[in-house]
Amino acid sequence: MMEFFNQGGYGGYVWGAFGMTFGLLLIEILQLRGSRRATLIRIGRLLRLRAPRQAAAASSRRQGTSGTQP
């Protein structure tokens, strides 16, 4: 086991290379997830700001129809 991590004394170089590679890929994945979430929230907020009246009209219409249903 120690032998594996030691890599013949070159462990620093080998793990430095592999660690940076997969570390950065992991950071990219997390960054992509975060930016997707942030974009969804931002656009959702923007849409609600832009069309509060439409949304209100739509929701009252929905409530109205459900009220008349037997």
């Binding site: 070159y10 170089y13 080998v14 290379a17 849409l47």
Partner: protein, 253 residues
Amino acid sequence: MMTTNWFKFASPAAFYPIAGRLIPWFGRIAAALVLIGLFWGFFLTANQLGGSNPQKEYYRIIFVHVPSAWMSMWLYLVLAGWSAIGLVFNTRLSFMMAKAAAPTGALFTFLALWTGALWGRPSWGTYWDWDPRLTSELLLFFLYIGYMALHSAIDDTRRADRAAALLAIVGLVMVPVIFLSINCPDPNQCAALHQRSDPGSIHLSILIPMLTMTFGLWAYSFAAVFARLRTIILTRESDSAWVRDVIAKEATV
């Protein structure tokens, strides 16, 4: 004969759900191939390579170094290719593809330089040298950075797309330069330096994990670029009705 109208997929609204369905598959393929490549590269290979002046364990860096370097050049071809298609056909999605590919390409360019430095120190005795290939790879990194900086420096999206696309196409000269930049006429004289490699001369136990890792990182690039593309599409199309539906649906999940 049946003809497919490829321009149908050029609509951001049509490609958004397709990309969304493809991402998990590319992610799974990437994870599987990378794990196989790592296992093979670390456990089924010899600890030393070569005869009189062998490469010791540090040669294993080849399993991330070469795939990263290939992906850095390939993604630049993707970036410049979509830029050219965008300029010729004026298709919005092409520019978005180009923009989505750039950060992942820059990442792999950095990794090629980083892993190369960590390989160069034990085998050449130095982290860095103004070797033609190292230098041209560094310039490729600056080109990626330049593309992203130029794009974000121009406020108008359409103008940013076109200006950055032009830079990407001009920068295309770097890819053949990297490919041809070898300062070693006789491989026997400089075995440790970059040389024209003949795939037939590489031992299969090295070649197979190297190619497996390359395909794994390629699949990863698809997933990462598509994920970034989807965010770009949503941002740019936020005024359209279909995005409103997407937001309404995703917000409830």
